[in-house]
């Protein structure tokens, strides 16, 4: 095997391992937001690794550009869904407050509501 193939294999294995760790986290973590940290983020590093591996093992610039496009699309879209799901989860009370050390958003929301009611 050439050096390039070794590097590509290492990238693939690391990417797969990250996906596996993410799956363990998704199954194990206690509340929605903790699961999101485990679940939506390995897309970032795991995907970059997998795409690097694929680009190295195919080794054509035409494919490499497309793979860069895949990574850019993922970088643009992943935060959107993460934010939407996190926000919806927070607003519908799916965050377990007993697991939070500090919760400054609820403090602020309550203060805003208190400001609103007398006026």
């Amino acid at each position: 095997m050439s050096v390039v193939e070794w590097v590509a294999s290492a990238c693939f294995l690391l990417g797969c391992a990250l996906t596996l760790v993410a799956a363990i986290g998704i199954l194990r973590f206690p509340d929605l937001l903790a699961r999101m940290h485990a679940g939506t983020k390995p897309q970032v590093l795991g995907l970059v690794l997998s795409m690097t591996g694929l680009g190295l093992s195919i080794g054509s610039s035409q494919v490499a550009w497309k793979l860069i496009l895949v990574i850019v699309f993922q970088f643009m879209t992943a935060p959107v869904s993460a934010h939407m799901v996190g926000r919806a989860g927070y607003r519908t009370g799916k965050v377990r407050e007993d697991l939070l050390e500090v919760d400054e958003l609820t403090e602020d929301l309550e203060r805003a509501k208190a400001d609103e009611t007398p006026g």
Partner: protein, 134 residues
Amino acid sequence: MSPVVMWAGGAMLAVAALLIVARIERGPSMLDRAIALDALVASLMGGLAMWSAATGRSDLVNVLVVLALVGFIGSVTLARFVAVEPEDEGRILTPEEVRIHDARLREALERERDRSAAGRDSAAQRAHPEGEQQ
């Protein structure tokens, strides 16, 4: 690529997919399922990438592009609906319940219209958009 790498990576992805499916089954809320589905798509993309590398089929890269671009729509849509849904989600309402719910909604809308017709100061509302958040 050597078959050892293929099998090791494939096995890891398969186990990951199984664990994710377990989370999808367990829930408890639709949002948990949505993020688990996202992760399933991510592992699918990893598998596709490895398959493409192993067989040298560069046409699969197009599938990866499409998945990267549309993969987030599902969970965004779900989040959008969940945000307005009441607590007891995941249950299909009976026609009777739907009628009651609709009536209550219409009533609320009418009340809202009356209130804005009564000339409530809309500028004050705009100054405190936090009020909408609950």
